[in-house]
Amino acid sequence: MTEVIFEPGRQDIIIRREFDAPREKVFKAFTDPELIPRWWGARRFTTTVDRMDVRQGGQWRFVTRNNDDGSEYAFRGVYHDVAAPSGTVFTFEFEPGGPGYLQFVTETFEEADGRTVYTQVCLFQSVEDRDGWIPTDMDKGIRESLDLLADLIARS
């Protein structure tokens, strides 16, 4: 079960997922450069790791290529802190990015009964920056249920 918490008026997005493995294993998988191309990013993109130096002050940079049209995008950042296996803190920026694209990401891995809850808090610089993360070309008119609306309001 993957959970996304996107509350009105806040400048963060919270993503949570439970894995059926101890956190040493989950942490290792998340921070393994060889595994990144096999899971990171959307399915129609091919991701390659340009840099991934998982230690305090280390840099990372991934390039994703759209399999349909060949267009390429890059993401990069710096590891502010790496505390295996409990979490990492890093910056996340979309290249060429510019104002509004810099996120401050905190990852935590919590273990209970051999399972691991992974939580990612993506902090934007302002509420406007976070809301701007919603792409403008998204499909309109997809009518979700009133339950989702009630959920959105109830979480606020």
Binding site: V26, W39, L149
Partner: protein, 110 residues
Amino acid sequence: MDDELSRTFAALADPTRRAILARLADGPAPVNELAQPFDMTPQAISKHLKVLESAGLISRSRQGQWRPCRLEVAPLDAVTAWIARYRAAWADSFDRLEAEIKKMRHKEDG
């Protein structure tokens, strides 16, 4: 982000306005009923309703003495659709990662 989404989010960013929407999720209501739970002047409530109305989140009947306010869900559809897609994309990535973790464990177990 287009103006419609900006207005939707700006309107949702206020707790009073969210409470008004939560009340309207139960059905249309006249202004005086919406104002009742809040310790606010009628002018302040009216201002909140104007923000919600310009964001398209509520509509007000032009007829009748009570001019009830009504919830309009269309602007929220775009937001909820995006959140659903964003969640699905992450779920898909995490599924692939979990498969890799399982493979790692199988290798280690010999």
